[in-house]
Symmetry: C2
Subunit: 150 residues, 2 copies
């Protein structure tokens, strides 16, 4: 099977298959005499594994670890489980971060008239000195330093 077929069968683009080979995520494919890469069903299976892993949000490096676990018939399922749960925690952290942005924006949008007038609490807030700005003190200092002779 050529790379195009393997790509279609696995759902991974040919470009990415070459990339995965180049970075060592998959082993170098055997070649025909003319240099074409040749793939087996097992290779396709691996590519599909990678695609699924990526689809679950695992990084390439994490995917490599998952692949190693997958190939290791001696691994303890506890290892896999803890690996998965660690990733769940990472995902939850990202989700919470995005939700925080979302909450803020929804709140701001809620307090914006949304009419033809230019008055806008959204921009006012973004432009405001936030209370979470640790640099506030230093800023004020820098400002006064800058305003006067420096």
């Amino acid at each position: 099977m050529n790379i195009g077929e393997a790509a279609q069968a696995s759902g991974v683009s040919a470009k990415m298959v070459r990339y995965y080979e180049r970075i060592g995520l998959i082993r170098a494919a055997t070649r025909t005499e003319s240099g074409y890469r040749v793939y087996s069903d097992e290779d396709v299976h691996t590519l599909r594994f990678i695609r699924r892993s990526r689809g679950l949000g695992f990084s390439i490096e994490e995917t490599a670890e998952l692949l190693a676990l997958w190939r290791d018939r001696e691994r303890a399922s506890a290892d896999v489980k803890s690996f998965a749960l660690k990733h769940v925690k990472d995902l939850e952290a990202k989700i919470e971060s995005l939700q925080s942005m979302c909450r803020t924006l929804r709140h701001l949008a809620g307090s914006c008239h949304g009419d033809g007038r230019p008055d806008c609490p959204i921009l006012d807030d973004i432009a405001a000195f936030g209370p979470g700005d640790k640099k506030e003190a230093k800023r004020t200092k820098a400002v006064s330093t800058c305003n006067h002779s420096h």
Copy 2:
């Protein structure tokens, strides 16, 4: 004010300030005779605006649009509001995508013993034939359907 001070005052690294100038997000700073960039309080304010916008998940391009809206005293607040709400929708889509991954992984982890035995439904699922396989594409739809149906 030099770039280092402006960076500290705005919370944007000096590196990023130069980058923002280079890509045209901020206008080129005036220079001293020796070539040092010089920033005013207004510049710092702009940098802080950018930092806040980025912190709310707006891309640099979106941030440029927000900056334009901010500077346009004639804009309608409705424009800002719809812009913000569009971004909220983008964020929600990302959140939903991550939550889908999370649900799947939690479900898989829940069905994994997590003991010393190698048997692991997590890896089994990732290795399963899913969508992307064209030949034998009628296997465990049950598992992924379970993820989907929540």
